[in-house]
Symmetry: C2
Amino acid sequence: MGLIKKPVTGMKDVLPLEMEVREYVIGVIKETYHAFGFSTIETPSVEHIENLSSKQGGENEKLIFKILKRGEKLNLNEASCEKDLVDCGLRYDLTLPLVRYYSNNSSKISTPFKALQIGSVWRADNPQKGRYRQFYQCDIDILGEPSNLAEIELILATTTTLSKLGFSGFEIRINDRRILKAMAAYSGFEEENYDQVFIALDKMDKIKAEGVEAELLENGFSKEMVSKYLNLFQEISDAENGLAFLVETLGEYLEDAVSSELKEIIDSVSQTKTADFQMVFDPSLVRGMSYYTGTIFEIAIPAFHASCGGGGRYDKMVGKFTGTDVPACGFSIGFERIIMLLMEQGFQIPKKKQKVAFLIEKGIAKEEICKIITEAQKERESGVQVSLMRMNKNKKFQIEQLEKEGYTVFKKFFREALK
Amino acid sequence: MGLIKKPVTGMKDVLPLEMEVREYVIGVIKETYHAFGFSTIETPSVEHIENLSSKQGGENEKLIFKILKRGEKLNLNEASCEKDLVDCGLRYDLTLPLVRYYSNNSSKISTPFKALQIGSVWRADNPQKGRYRQFYQCDIDILGEPSNLAEIELILATTTTLSKLGFSGFEIRINDRRILKAMAAYSGFEEENYDQVFIALDKMDKIKAEGVEAELLENGFSKEMVSKYLNLFQEISDAENGLAFLVETLGEYLEDAVSSELKEIIDSVSQTKTADFQMVFDPSLVRGMSYYTGTIFEIAIPAFHASCGGGGRYDKMVGKFTGTDVPACGFSIGFERIIMLLMEQGFQIPKKKQKVAFLIEKGIAKEEICKIITEAQKERESGVQVSLMRMNKNKKFQIEQLEKEGYTVFKKFFREALK
């Protein structure tokens, strides 16, 4: 017959050792986020194709796994385009389904609504090391909270979680979409060109100011505007207090409330944090998703030269479903990256239970089996993990394999007598 | 714009209260199965369409959510049938992916391999109360263990889990596909008609012996054969020891080993069980899946008039992938049914953490906010769940909503002073 043994392209089988780390991390995440009052929820993996294609997902909308209509609705002969064949698809993130969920269930949940989601998302991206087509996302979101209490809670909860997972000395970089826009306006860019400017700026970490300058000039912007814009970043970075300098420089290009609220977030978090990290105002932080309307933030872990998660405020998305905007803010941990980091560092799970193997020789008497099982049941009750298994002919190899899986105690039961 | 608020047909949004029960049950399941030496694994939700359509899934193969090819592989104009459009689909169970996983990773895992899987599966079935198109399955399987030690461990682990979830007085009904066949052969049915006979027999619980008789006669089987067959069930049920009676009656139609091993399972489990349940030999137990090759079993909980899970031995499935058969046996808990039962009974989670809401009036001074957050952080450290939130104008309604979500303590912070 010959069935296919490999997983589908870009997806992976999770082996027991990695799975133990994943389960441990999920446990820490849930415990910490619950302590901050977030409630776990779940949405279906499958979403309406109309919602998935509604321009909320940016580039991700090009990567949707689309699902074929079923039964009478599927009419192959008359189908002339993809739309005729497809009615739903796999979710590419957890934010869009959350907003649909909130819109659908708002009468049944309290306001503000603090949601925790841990689940798979799917993107038909080019597979590469550490990037899969099915992967976990782990998001917390607060809906219905207009004040920056939302940002403060999200950042404290996320950093406390990272700290409990052993991370320290990291940064939370923070910015506001409105600061991005004000800086572009101040430098003379037209609003219709902001996206182009921000796409270049987003690469600052990788291609440095020179690279951003080259890209902007190539896009046809004047040398004067580009210089003014990039000088601003340099001046902020040179200033003793970057944010204060920026406020003074931008003047009426920036509403007072934007900078004072951002300062309040940075100050409140810095004064109340329990984890070891720095809050850093980063005027070059862009965050790709176009749905962000205010604050944006990102985790930078020194050991990992890319973002390990991020989020921001998206006050306009609920309105796309209900017609009435609801303030919303979320923070997503880069779950797969964190797992990869921990696995690479040979992470050991604390307080792991002892794993004991009972190896039973073939042909042992029935009454002996019952005694062995009873002994195993007692050990299990006392909190030990006991696995009963037949002793293989090659005992040595069997024990070596089991040791790799974390078994440390081997109890052998032979045919002649219990030893 | 008007996006769609409802989930796709037949799928559901899980609200926080049900989610708490689900998370608690998953916790108990994992802890118990780990104590028995099962390792959690995960396979992708998406499987090759070739594997999903390989006749291992019986009727479920008609219910696959199929996924459209992507990029260059999708050629709408030249597509003449579904096969041209589809390359993968959502898994309809966890057994087929497990067997693919085992075949793919056998060099990296120990033998016997004891796997625990908890995950979503998808079936485009007609939705009805308690039956969704996306639902959780929870399976344990032992691969590479030919002896009935596998069945004994699976049944003990599953019943211990059910017991820890508060179920008692239930039955594990057990049979063997080879007994089913021997009884049919003894009664004079031809092998090619077994499936037809078993489909009728499978309805015994619902339509009783009379209904089964009517269906078999309608299918054209002789009155003599049908009577002989149904009398056998009556005689087994009347006998003091049904299994012993059956062995004696069937004579050479049934291999000795089949009945002695079945007896061994019943005796060993009965003697070593810690949960309150009965092992019952049930010669009318069929279990639908055609891949079963030996023992089959099912959970019957009095409060629920349908199977709450089941499983059996399927020694021939790994061979479909690798060419070499590997003994395999699994037990699946009816996760969604158990959740439904617990929810209907108003299940209360034991040792639930206290939920405290800090309600903060709008416009409170910044310094006060920091004090409040610090207080919340301390309470969280001590194991309490604390949620900070803005005080709504309608405090009474807000508190009522929060009470529904399990909040019991409300601390209010007003603008003028900390009270």
